[in-house]
């Protein structure tokens, strides 16, 4: 495969992955905002998050939408992918804590994702973490893009 062709394939894959991340976070943020009261109650039930629940109920969807904005902006996309990866790692850490260490497992995910079991959700997140790493590896640097 020629260098130019390889570069084009890289761009297509990263653009596709960015679209996937935009879709996932837009959907997740809006689902949380639509079911605001349920999401707040569920955050209140997590022992180490309860004190910050009134703040987190807005901050979590807010940060997710901010990541979407970063992903939408081509020059900020790399930062968007980094932020996406960071949030997914934090969320997966929370899921692992909830499944293996928490005395109670509330369902805090909206829409279609709420149909998943907690363990499937961890696998789902791990897949997206791998995709984010792949996107970072394939994302063309500025010098290559010119």
């Amino acid at each position: 495969m020629s260098y130019q062709r390889k570069h084009t394939v890289q761009i297509i894959i990263t653009n596709f992955l960015a679209l996937l991340f935009i879709f996932l976070f837009s959907y997740a943020a809006l689902s949380k905002l639509i079911s605001y009261s349920v999401f707040k109650d569920q955050l209140t039930q997590v022992p180490f998050l309860a004190f910050a629940a009134p703040f987190l109920v807005w901050a979590i969807p807010g940060v997710e939408l901010l990541v979407v904005v970063l992903l939408l902006w081509p020059s900020l996309r790399r930062w968007g992918i980094f932020s996406f990866l960071g949030l997914m790692l934090m969320f997966t850490g929370y899921l692992v804590y909830t499944v293996y260490f928490s005395p109670y497992t509330p369902c805090s995910c909206g829409g279609i994702i709420s149909g998943m079991s907690w363990r499937s959700h961890i696998l789902f997140n791990l897949l997206f973490i791998l995709l984010a790493v792949l996107a970072l590896l394939l994302e063309p640097t500025k010098s290559l893009e010119k």
């Binding site: 679209l19 935009i22 959907y27 079911s35 569920q42 039930q45 829409g111």
Partner: protein
Amino acid sequence: MKTKVFKSVLPLLVMILAIGLSFATQSPTVDQLGYFQNSLSEWQSIVVGPECGLTGDEPCLYMDKQLYTQPDIDSPAFLKNH
């Protein structure tokens, strides 16, 4: 032109699609409350996830306490499937 569509318009369309889908797939179910007795034998309530209902093969617990549908030990207990 093609690049512009791919980089600007398509991500916006995907975002709008996700927003629309989040409204479309929102469950119309009402929050259900579960009740448990704390260490002082007082009744406390919490929101119960959709995995808990009136049928199942294991109890729905919160802090190792059985959840009930009413603040009454004789009311039906919440159960879930393994």
